[in-house]
Amino acid sequence: MLILGTGSRNLWHFKLGVGECNNKAEAIDDRGVSRVSAAFLFHVVGEKFRIGNTMEQEDDEQQQVWSWGAGTDGQLATGRLQDEHSPQLIRSLSAYGPIVSLSCGGAHVIALTSGGRVVTWGRGISGQLGHGEMVNNLQPKLVKELEGLVITHVSAGWNHSGFVSETGAIFTCGDGSFGQLGHGDFNSHCYPREVSYFASKPVEQVACGMRHSLMLLRGNVENPVYGFGSGKRGQLGISRDSVKSSSLPQITMGLENLKIISIYANGDHSAALSGDGSLYTWGRGFSGAPDAYIPCHFDAAAFPISDVALGWNHALLLTGEGEVFMLGGDRHGVLGDPQKTPSTADVRGKSEETMMQIIPGLVNLKVVQVATGAEHSAFITDNGSVMTSGWGEHGQLGLGNTNNQTEPRVVTLGRKFTLSHATPRVYCGSGFSFILERHDVSS
């Protein structure tokens, strides 16, 4: 029996002896290299053959992963180079054991395993996958260069990646043409390389945007956040004037002695959240508002904010009560529709209060997690439903079509089995989405 992948590049052929479930599954790539894979699950003539050892089988049953949306760089991990309009159940990650989190970039994905290992796939032409080459990978692949380290936090930007280790070291790879790797030059790197500036300043978190990166330091330090890369829209927050770029880390101003617990970057936007639920934003202005060159306290929110997600032109703010507010959403769900799209001039000069809006369709629901792609949004409700809204041209809403949605709609995952005590988490890249659902062994 022969199952053929449909991708035009890196075509994969899977061979399996019919009815011989003890046979090895052989994957042969386009260079004719044969690889033995023990973690694929095949459905053959209505019969189910499981190939793999017991541990992988258990992992597979405690974890389900789906992807959908733009797929032309292999970012969906389906092994194909095509868009998917509905959630696709992904099996190719089960070989790596429990996945604790994902980070999705322009067209690549970084997965962090429970053991602190890193797996990447998708677009790799700038070296952002960290495998020492500048090619796309249609299948998840372990980043060997980081083996031996326990990685605790990762972030995928447009075409670059950041990895933070247990000891607070920060490694970057990918496109460096705006200085976004922080090595003091404008070179790209295809292996993760330590940012030496932070050798004596342990890092807690990394956030990678389109052309910039932010770092959050550990502990109570006077200056908790640093930025590097493009600063044209103020996204580094390092000067009251526009800074074209900085290839070395610089202190982000205006956050002195604040207890920052999370940092966020996407597009040309940056944000930080403090322990008391205060939000600070800088970079490109929302809805045509002026760019902010240093962090501004967002005081339109009269309630503590528990989480934030940034898109390229909008942001989602989640409150502790499970309410969601959107910033800059005037074009959300109406992209490419000239009748519905207001011009930037219409909203220029509006205050923060009017820029912030409640999302129709979520009013009576309690939301527990939010995520944003460049122009789409995803929500997890307290009953475990996945909802999406925004731009849908590549199927990134997972609703089975390419329509835009101004109001969130429920995504049908098509679970093969129901995990007890499992809450899905959603992660969005520019034009695609992933769901990770794990059985919570502690509950």
């Binding site: 032309t72 760089d73 677009r123 043409s177 790209s188 790197h189 992209l335 590549h394 520019s430």
Partner: protein
């Protein structure tokens, strides 16, 4: 409607595509060639979706092909292992 207005200096020269490019929210790149710019075209399109951007540039800068000050704004990144 144009997705965004982007200055030419914020676009990157891509040798392989022989175009100036800028990230598209779908994950692909908005693209426009020097020839397009020379004839006054200001719309950079994405080959993968319906979106396009308006490129802000000075058409005179692209009139004379031999004009050396029109080199791409940034050198292509060099891969370092």
């Amino acid at each position: 409607m144009s997705y965004d207005d982007v200055e030419i200096e914020d676009m990157e020269w891509n040798d392989e595509l022989q175009s100036f490019t800028y990230p598209c929210p779908c994950g692909d790149l908005f693209q426009i060639t020097k020839e397009d710019l020379r004839i006054g075209e200001e719309i950079a399109r994405c080959p993968s979706c319906s979106l396009y951007i308006t490129v802000i540039y000075n058409m005179e800068d692209f009139q004379d092909k031999s004009n050396k000050k029109l080199e791409p704004p940034k050198p292509q990144p060099v891969a370092v292992a």
